[in-house]
């Protein structure tokens, strides 16, 4: 159930989501869904020729996973803003942890809102994606 206004406080952190090890199939499925068919994300030879050890994940894949995790908590219809910044590449075999917390609870333009800070980290502890989202809370 989506939490209500009086059930949310600054500092709230839902249980993190751990996915993976992520595979080339995850990348390809995301590429098909999104329309970004850059071969660097699925073609081994192409990726190596470009100087990479393997096909690297599409940045929007891990960003999408991070956003899906947050909307599962606060509701798909309640999203008003999503911003992501990529920090580190994600590779096949990585285990990703999505986490985040409420950093601000406020009313604006007659709506009750919360701001979240999110992160998607690799099994190494390295930060892959930093995220910020705003949700309305009914």
């Amino acid at each position: 159930m989506t939490p209500k206004w009086d059930e949310i406080e600054s500092g709230n952190e839902p249980p993190p989501l751990v996915i993976g090890p992520v595979t080339r199939t995850d990348f390809v499925r995301y590429q098909g869904a999104s329309g970004d068919m850059n071969p660097i994300h699925h073609d081994e030879e192409f990726a190596r020729a470009a100087g990479y050890q393997a096909p690297l994940a599409v940045g929007m894949f891990q960003a999408g996973v991070l956003n899906s995790w947050a909307t599962h908590w606060l509701g798909p219809a309640n999203v008003r803003r999503s911003r992501v910044r990529w920090k580190e590449q994600v590779w096949p075999g990585d285990v990703l942890t999505c986490s985040g917390k409420v950093v601000r609870k406020y009313e604006e333009s007659g709506e009750r809102r919360v701001d979240l800070e999110l992160s998607c980290t690799r099994q190494t502890g390295g930060l892959a994606v930093q995220g910020w989202m705003t949700f309305v809370v009914p």
Binding site: A33, N67, G75, P76, V79, V84, R85
Partner: protein, 149 residues
Amino acid sequence: MIDKNAVGKTGVPFSLEVERGKIHEFARATHARHADYFSEQPIAPPTFLTTMFFWEAYVEGANPWHFVQMDQKRGMHAEQEYTFHGPPPCAGTRLTCQSRITEIYEKAGKRGGLLTFAVMVTEFRDQSGQLVAEARMTGVETARPPSEP
């Protein structure tokens, strides 16, 4: 090499239909589990509007990004932002989209070398002309290829 004259270049408007099957596919690909993504009239996930690239591919001049002339070997997606002026669109909505290069700026990189950023903003309007969402894509061109240490 990024061309600063790209600022202000505007693409030809194009249509995007928010489709049920596409939402299901996208939701599954991003490991989403919320029932609102798999219903009869599902809601678009927060980053779903990235599928605009399918739609603009059929309209010549829709994507002004090529004016930026980013070197593909040194170019990366740095940031992406979506703003919604209400609930994200649901399946069955037809959006009119238009992209524009809004900004190009430089910053010193942490390990030396100049970083050049370029920003493209896309506006999404519904059939009544109401602004439903905006996408802001920031690309960065590094001084050397990102695959080099």
